[in-house]
Symmetry: C2
Subunit: 196 residues, 2 copies
């Protein structure tokens, strides 16, 4: 029997949560980042393929490596965020399938088709990125996801010689409420949904 969440929890996750543009100096511990990952990894992926990979950037040195790849409007908030997560996926995620999905030869579903492997990694790695954002919020953190950056530069700086590739980036920390933008409108049910 699944227990629904109360209004305060829904506010933390959805209705009051906001993408952040500034941060308080309150730090985020590595232990909390591990708790965020431990929740996010439980979300569903196709055949449990779990293609997402996460680089938690929290030292000034690593932030400086990231800085040249950022769009101008994303530099200040990223350099001051306690943590910036480089959300990536592993292009050879299927090599983990003998352990992750042991009751079928799931690896063979992907090794024959780069297109299927790419689409599966992008879709499921992105689902896991959303689980990470909501897991961070669930543990009391604020998030600021961004796709305004140079993917080739991030791949060259962080993933050269590996099978990982960047999807997007997410700042984590405790948001500075004074820097949040006004809430933008969302599509009404009848604009985005149909009942069949």
């Amino acid at each position: 029997m699944t227990q629904a969440l109360d209004a305060a929890a829904l506010a933390t996750l959805f209705t009051e949560a906001r993408s952040q543009n500034g941060w308080t100096p309150e730090p985020v511990s590595d232990d909390l980042l591990r708790q965020v990952y431990d929740l996010a990894r439980m979300g569903p992926t196709s055949a449990n393929c779990s293609p997402a990979r996460f680089v938690f950037v929290r030292t000034p040195e690593a932030k400086e490596r990231l800085k040249p790849a950022l769009s101008a409007s994303n530099v200040d908030k990223t350099m001051t965020a306690p943590v910036t997560v480089i959300v990536a996926w592993d292009k050879t995620f299927y090599d983990k399938l003998p352990a992750l999905f042991p009751h079928a030869d799931a690896r063979a579903w992907f090794t024959g088709s780069p297109e299927v492997a790419h689409e599966t990694a992008f879709r499921n790695g992105t689902l896991q990125a959303a689980y990470l954002i909501l897991a961070a919020r669930a543990l009391g953190l604020d998030a600021g996801p961004m796709s305004g950056f140079d993917k080739a530069k991030v791949d060259a700086e962080f993933f050269d010689g590996t099978t990982w590739t960047v999807n997007f980036i997410v700042n984590l920390g405790h948001g500075d409420a004074s820097k949040v933008f006004g809430r933008l409108p969302r599509l009404a049910f009848d604009e985005a949904c149909t009942l069949a």
Copy 2:
């Protein structure tokens, strides 16, 4: 100040939630589906682009239209689920940007590049799909996402002559606990994450 969730809420969302393979007869009201969407739409997307579209399939007639597209192993659980959501995106999502992101000409970022438009729709539409799964769980529903189906058949049957295209499908309802598979392993922190 963001309030963290308690252990029961984390269980509902992540640690005890499971992809479902069977369903109790308990129905899901259209009002509850609207509540799920109202939460899911609040999650962050790039420039608030909100490309996801959702078809809530709950009549026997609409289920029969979906059936020929399903992989054999997904037929029974989908035909018996109270609701099957066809998660789609709008290929011309950018036409809503003058309303969704009114302070810049964001539409122009996408009309010149089909590749950028596709990647943005796929990434952000998939983030919204994850928000929908977790919103459903937050409201006491169980989910069963699936990518085992024929996308071309779904597009031809449901989206012919429109700008919508299917991403994946998600059963919603109240799960039959006796039909849940054993929990599969997840990657350890050190297999999927690095600290930088």
